[in-house]
Symmetry: D2
Subunit: 278 residues, 4 copies
């Protein structure tokens, strides 16, 4: 259960009492008080085995509690794994990384399908027994292509989307359908080096550290709430191409970290910032 509300006394107590009295057993609880707007955030992971009422009734009761405190709440059950779609173009490093981590059990979600605007990576998906769909994006036909993708996502019951170096800009309409459920990786240390060719921008600036950023996609390009960032040291001996190669390592890692946190329901978004619980 994740919730946020005005920061007033007693929230931890009332939430833990609510869970306890309904037969739940708290396994872990984390809070965060954001100074901005005096806002309180909480995530509680509790065991439902002993719940003395149905889930539907629990949710009804929770709504009553939420109303009392003006809480926004989100409740998910760990026995209902989320279903994830991966969108790629031609780069394979993030795709392989996610497929392997999924295989190792690191990602708490089911991999529903892979969608690409190019056919090249089909064998990779197939080798991991994941359905692959090639949806080309013809010039001027982006909305039609997106409609096809949305149909697929509906058919595959997709809960969230991972843009694993998908080289197309999605329309606002598409993004708004999956608010805070599209995870993108940007190959630069945002907010520096937005847009195209960030490694080449970094090279020309002569920076001594490059970075990669995973974030929720929003209508404003490369400006959505940041989930994870990572950096790596570079120097004058590295060409722009070297930066691209070094960047591959941190791109896949920041993306995987974000996907794992999302799969575990450990992320809360407030304004343009994320709270990523442990």
């Amino acid at each position: 259960m994740r919730l946020h509300c005005q920061d007033v006394p007693g929230i931890v107590y009332h939430v833990s009492r609510f869970i306890y009295e309904n037969g739940g057993n708290i396994i872990n609880a984390e809070q965060h008080a954001e100074a901005m707007d005096n806002r309180f955030f909480m995530r509680v992971h509790f065991d439902c085995d002993g719940l003395g009422l149905s889930r539907a009734d629990f949710i009804k009761q929770l709504q009553a509690l939420a109303n009392t405190f003006g809480m926004e709440t989100a409740l998910t059950f760990s026995d209902t794994r989320k279903r994830m779609a991966i969108m790629v173009s031609r780069y394979n490093h993030c795709l392989y990384d996610l497929l392997l981590r999924h295989q190792y059990g690191e990602i708490n979600a089911d991999l529903a399908l892979v969608v690409s605007n190019h056919p090249e990576l089909e064998p990779v998906a197939r080798e991991f027994s994941i359905p692959f769909h090639h949806i080309p994006v013809a010039p001027g036909q982006k909305e039609k292509a997106e409609a096809n993708v949305l149909n697929l996502f509906s058919e595959y019951q997709v809960d969230f989307i991972v843009l694993a170096r998908y080289m197309q800009i999605l329309t606002d309409g598409f993004i708004s359908r999956y608010e805070h459920r599209i995870i993108n990786v940007h190959h630069g240390f945002l907010p520096a080096f937005k847009g195209a060719k960030p490694y080449h921008q970094a090279y020309e600036h002569g920076v001594k550290i490059i970075g990669a950023t995973s974030h929720y996609a929003t209508a404003e390009l490369d400006m959505g709430p940041i989930i994870e960032q990572e950096t790596v040291r570079v120097d004058h001996t590295h060409s722009a191409e070297d930066l691209v190669a070094m960047g591959r390592d941190i791109e896949r890692h920041v993306l995987a970290t974000a996907v794992k946190a999302h799969g575990d329901d450990r992320i809360m978004v407030y304004r343009r910032r994320t709270i990523v619980f442990r």
Copy 2:
């Protein structure tokens, strides 16, 4: 309040109810379940302003709760700042670092005094207006010197001790007086390179990364519970002396991080591991 006990259902609820019903307001609570021994750890930071009973009575009530669950509890009040002693020899980098961080308000403790077996760093302490005592350690006279130090600590009401590159090995008797209240910095990545000249050991081994470790001092040299570690990359161009210089930067940082965590009562020790809450 910090506590640990067997991990049974309802602890978060009972602790938060106890605090709530006595008029406390939880600001932050963190838990940790250690798989080893099925042990549950909790730290609760709560506001006492509205307590409906005296602190003494609160403590009595807490003891009753603790008995019910077989908890070990520790309660400290943030309006009672701990008093810290620093022990040094001749190296000044950790001392300066702690004095500056204390001046910046980063360390949640009062700096009671500086004790050294050498006189050289007296001007440094004086410049920050901290009492300095020179207690030489003559060969074969360690216990006598330690007795003098203990007298000073008693007089200055010292709660915990920071060994800021103090180059003497303390006796078991001394250490046992301040169990888990003596913070040492070792200039190596423990458990590698225990004992003397760790940077030279590291150089000869040709390691590509060196480290520093802060830990609670225990009777077994350099084996106490680790609080913080940090590493820095080195290569063949660095001499053993370069490693010493690079090590200074990480030594002061791991020590300061440990001192801050201890000052905030964020550390719990269980067996040889530490839980360092945020």
Copy 3:
């Protein structure tokens, strides 16, 4: 060209003159003076296109120069790519990583074959079109299995070997055949946590940083010259299994870094230390 010798005046000049007068053009040169034994190391990368003599004659002349200065020299030509063998057991993360980096052109070597004591990873090798040989190691039959491996290496003209989490200890006889040409990855921060289950050792010690190490295999287990190390921060919330998962990321990275350096002939070994030129 790599060389080392006593550190006397004029070496850089004599080497650069030798190359220049024979029609070579220096692209890059790096030196290193090791204080131990007053030893001088040099690596020169030069363009051979304008050589005024045959390679065989160049090598003869070089030998004369080497004799003058008591140099040990090694000369390799970048148009003769080295041939690499990968040995694996069942873990696939390092294998995938090397196959992908090889595909990206990051590794300056040809991938000759993959050898495993288990059959499971054959499809992975096949998918990248690399020959795979399953050489089981029956109890008490290690030397026979190694003989088979050596035959394969001979047949495939293997220059160096990468142990990509190969879970067998090689015999001294095998190792001595490929001195400083077998690259191993150890899933611990050597020299701490040698031997089996290093992540579990690290967990029990309560370290706050874990590491991985790539090194040349030598007769003494986990004690060969270190090529690269990497660390990652952990805390009390991580189980031993979490450390294993986090370790996978740094294992594959330290191994790849070592393989790339070896492929580029950028490594020199002196005693138990490595010099890794840029």
Copy 4:
């Protein structure tokens, strides 16, 4: 000796011959070929003890060599230590750090004086026996104040200037007097978060990593050639004030690294990039 020129064959040879034939002994030489503009950079550290001609004559000969290859050269002698000025305002962390590193012998330069627009840090300079001059900057009187500073620098024979969190923007006139000889530290990961309050900008963006940058000051604010950068991981639990505190650690480190490299004459600037030799 540092030099750069068009990248043509034979430069390493001709430079090493020039040094050898004049009686110099090369201790270390590094080269770098910058793909942009096909430019070649070289730094040679050689022993002058056996020079067969006067330094003045050596410089004359060097000029002839430079003319042949169209080289830009810079020659400095390690027995002539550079003289460094530090400019500060009220923050003391970078000042203390530089004073201590100077005391440890880490910085290859003499500390000529400290200049401040505020009087508060005079005791700090005095404690390290460094002259301190308070030059206030009255509104509208910046150029007058700078003239006073320049007079002091002339009097103290200052070679280069370190802005150790000096909170005034220098005029272009001042900066142009010390081209590539004014080292500034910016408390943000440039080119992100230029200008004022970078940590607060970072906080509001919700970045997960903050940075600090040392660079040569140029007329364009916070856009001069970057010498060193460092980053540190942050999360939602950190307030903007926490970022300020964490930033102090990396600010002092990136500044010190830059000052050491400049003191050793290891930096070359080409366009907006720096080459920092080891």
